[in-house]
Amino acid sequence: MKKILFLTTSPTVDGNGDALTSAAMKEAQSAGGQVDLVNIREKNIGFCKACYGCRETGVCIQQDDFQAILSLAHEADAIVCTAPIYYNCMAAQMLTVINRLCCTFACKTHKLGPKKKAAFMLTCTGSEVDEMIRHVKNITTLPSIARTIAGEKTEVFTSCVSSDTCAQSERYLARAREIGRWAAE
């Protein structure tokens, strides 16, 4: 049974990110996956201080919710992230989580668990799809992350002009389900 971590970074309750996450998660469950859901908006995650306090232990000096999420990420066979695009770049909430992965390169003995599939579902109004996919690839090709990625998919959901655009679009929900199925395979 595959373990799948769903990580949502949208601040909007029941918004586009939640609709996509929920569709993907149900699909992953019905495909036999064991799912965990973390809503970053409910968590306290500090900014990386670039102090390299994690260098020896792999554990951040900040006592916040990050370490528990990192443990789930380590155990996972797939991680599905949802993020809104603000100003042609993933929301600060997502970048802040990614920044905190400092231990993956600072600590040479850091264990990353099984190789993982990584999926991103990005919601935006008018950003260029190819450009947004490139932005994600820019991050996931960092060697310390790339070494643990077994497969990658990014879906960009454009024209999200209202918070229920995705919930109302069968086409968008189908794409989210496809991601869920892929993650559980």
């Binding site: 601040p11 900014f47 603000y86 929301a91 600060a92 802040t96 992965l101 400092c102 820019n138 960092l142």
Partner: protein, 177 residues
């Protein structure tokens, strides 16, 4: 003519490499007679944008934190320096949090000259990705001109950029700004 230069320093390290380049730019700009101010984002309290659009009619965010003051300064400035270390080939969460929170007034950040500073242990090609991500923001601002992108490539230890040629070039850019 004296201009207002606002430097938004997005590194958590005071005296770190991107911060030293901010100082070099400011020194040059001051010598050219400009008025400069540096804001350490790390020192401020700025919550993430909640995408609630409560600001749509009012132009004011419901979150009562330090961002209202920063946004006013951005609107009042003639030149804005955006500085960040390269984290995961993108920008710091600190700087992106500030950028996201410009939503109530980004259309008023009009006709500004922008300078980008990004520093990393990696080479220039990798830093280009970070520049790209920052430019995603200025692309959304009316009349924004990106005057220069300053690449602090190949610096790993905090502060080791001091005395480098890129530090001198940054000072010169400030002086000619």
């Amino acid at each position: 003519m004296s201009k207002k230069v606002l430097v938004l320093a997005g590194s958590p390290r005071k005296g770190g490499n991107s911060d030293l380049l901010c100082d070099a730019f400011m020194k040059g700009a001051q010598e050219a007679g400009h008025e400069t101010e540096k804001i350490y984002i790390e020192d401020l309290k700025i919550g993430g944008c909640r995408a609630c659009y409560a600001c749509r009619g009012t132009g004011v965010c419901f979150q009562k934190d330090d961002m209202a003051r920063v946004l006013e300064k951005m609107i009042a400035a003639d030149m804005i320096v955006l500085a960040t270390p390269v984290y995961f080939y993108s920008l710091s969460g600190q700087l992106k949090t500030l950028i996201d929170r410009t939503l109530p007034g980004y259309t008023k950040i009009r006709d500004k000259d922008f300078y980008f500073i990004a520093t990393a242990a990696a080479g220039k090609a990798m830093i280009e990705r970070t520049m790209d991500a920052i430019e995603g923001f200025t692309d959304c601002l009316p009349g924004a001109k990106v005057k220069a992108k300053i690449y602090g490539a190949g610096f790993y230890k905090p502060g080791e950029i001091a005395g480098s040629s890129v530090e001198k070039e940054t000072y010169e850019l400030g002086r000619k700004a």
